[in-house]
Amino acid sequence: MKTTYREAIRAALRAALEADPRVFLMGEDVGRYGGAFAVSHGLLEQFGPERVRDTPLSESTFVGAGIGAALGGLRPIVEVMTVNFSLLALDQIVNNAATLRHMSGGQLSVPLVVRMATGGGRQLAAQHSHSLEGWYAHVPGITVVTPATVGDAHGMLLAALREPDPVFIFEHATLYPMEGELDEHAGPVELGRAAVRRPGDDVTLITYGGSLGKTLEAADRLGQEGVSAEVVDLRALRPVDTPTILTSVAKTHRAVVVDEGWRTGSFAAEVSARIMEGGFYDLDAPVARVCSAEVPMPYAKHMEDAALPRAGTVVEAVLALLKRRG
């Protein structure tokens, strides 16, 4: 059936709340307001205020309370409004959620799911638009996933709830209205596996989340110019599915990484390094990166557009790479 990314997440939330009494949702405005991005609209009415809990604007404490509730035997789903706001909860995420299992000598596990919106493109300027999921991917002890399709938005949430350890789901905010197909009986998907979204032979375009659409568009344009691009959707930033990346690069011999994070210290840098470590002798050209410009996100439309990766900049990067051969 045809549905939206937003509705797919809502359907997964509803299914999880129906299936498991230990599951509950909490976060800012998830209840009466229906979610800042309307993801949880209608859930309060269906499941009541015990299980759909509006919280104060206390990111650190409601994420920490999610950790504690998980330790206490529940399956909390915590919604943080945006990745920029999640920085207020970094202490709980990095110092507690990610460490407790190991630091307790394996006695504790934290089956916590945290969802948040990420990314730019909506003229929300420098405190609502950044793509910081790459920072989270730096931290061992947590799983970081970036659903880019309607199916993954649904299936990754269901899968996250089956994990015994914390899972962070980064939902690119421009994707919520995106339409796509969702099987009526769709279930959880495997976390940590990349997917080849479009096969090709001349170059591998590696991306994730909100950049997948732009990258597929770039691949279409390249096709019109006679360049066959393979598109790999990472789907998870931790763990990274290195074999899928290397298999593709071994076939195409060229790679461009498209990542909405800032270039310096970006997740694209990690992908590039993995290709260098595992696929250096397969390469016909250096790995290229298309990232966000190194600037706090500007408000004005033309400036924001200029700051973000676009299909056009991806095409340019690929063509430049191909020229290097000659």
């Binding site: 104060p56 404490t61 950790i67 202490d91 350890d165 763990p239």
Partner: protein
């Protein structure tokens, strides 16, 4: 807090039990300091000497089903909660037989079987965890209490304010227990708080709050029992400030430039162990022989604990990445 009012004498058995528990902590900490000097214990070591009445008194009010969340100065709580001294000592030695498999050290004791949910070394970081544990109990209909220990330094953290508010808003069964030892590391309370009556902060969030002489184990026990009873009855969270003092430095690395020896000596005159012992003697409940027997039993226990720590195995290096994730884990 009602100054000058002395709690009633306990029974002899209970009085001796309180004394024994405080002595165990005192001697354990002295032994830890000695082993630190010998290089057996490394990292940061924060001793609880002087504050024993708080953990021991408070723990009397908790049942085995209740949860404890503590700080990096948690040896007292861990011992009073019943975690074997050998398991704690082994943890500080970094042994795999330690209560956290040697992953945590002095600041991160865990024992899930005893519902001891850890020592948290980011000041204030344990409070949201306690709120969440209590939320789980509430949603699962379990009549349990979560006791959350933290210091006066934590009241400056946002998580203190957020957690008290959320616990009160949701009427969660948490006892917030502030061990006010007057110093956030080296910064005196009056140098970091505009309002030094900590009860007022809790009251501002709708929590009934009390303060107690943290050098008097009987007073701490009485106050904690009263508040835990209210929490367990479903009346929402409570706040207790225990006014106490650490006799030793903040950690082994602290040269104590920020406080005078006179001040320390004044507080030492209120030593919680000596205070209880004197009261028990006055009441005819303690003899020299009793005290000697207690000391001997504690010494024997600690000898055993150190021997157990010495003999404990090291975690194999091949296990380095174990327990980052559950089971086989992720690459």
């Amino acid at each position: 807090m009602t100054p000058g009012r002395q709690p009633a004498l306990p029974t002899r058995d209970h009085g001796l039990e309180l004394l024994r528990e405080m002595l165990r902590i005192r001697r354990f900490e002295e032994k830890a300091a000695e082993l630190y000097s010998l290089g057996k214990i490394r990292g940061f070591l924060h001793l609880y000497i002087g504050e024993e009445a708080v953990a021991v008194g408070a723990m009397q009010a908790l049942t085995p089903d209740d949860a404890v969340v503590a700080t990096y100065r948690e040896h007292g709580q861990a011992l009073a909660r019943g975690i074997p001294a050998g398991s704690l000592m082994a943890e500080m030695f970094g042994k795999a037989s330690g209560c956290s498999r040697g992953h945590g050290g002095s600041m991160h004791f865990f024992d899930v079987g005893r519902r001891f949910y850890g020592g948290y070394a980011i000041v204030g970081g344990g409070l949201p965890i306690a709120v969440g544990l209590a939320l789980a109990d509430t949603l699962l209909g379990r009549p349990r209490v979560t006791a959350c220990f933290f210091g006066d330094g934590a009241v400056a953290e946002g998580e203190f304010h957020e957690s008290l508010n959320l616990a009160a808003l949701w009427k969660l069964p948490v006892l917030f227990l502030c061990e006010n030892n007057l110093y956030a590391m080296g910064t005196a309370l009056a140098r970091h708080q505009a309002e030094t009556d900590l009860r007022r902060k809790a009251e501002a969030y709708g929590l009934p709050a009390d303060a107690v002489d943290g050098m008097d184990v009987l007073a701490v026990e009485t106050a904690t029992r009263r508040l835990v009873e209210a929490v367990r009855a479903g009346n929402g969270p409570r706040f207790l400030e225990a006014r106490t003092y650490r006799f030793r430095a903040h950690s082994m690395a602290d040269p104590e430039l920020y406080r005078g020896k006179d001040e320390v000596e004044q507080w030492k005159a209120r030593d919680p162990i000596a205070t209880l012992a004197a009261r028990l003697r006055e009441g005819g409940l303690l003899s020299d022989g009793d005290l000697g027997a207690l000391e001997a039993a504690v010494a024997a226990e600690l000898d055993g604990a150190v021997a157990m720590a010495e003999a404990g195995p090291w975690e194999p290096v091949e296990d380095l990445l174990k327990d980052v994730y559950t089971g086989a884990g992720r690459p």
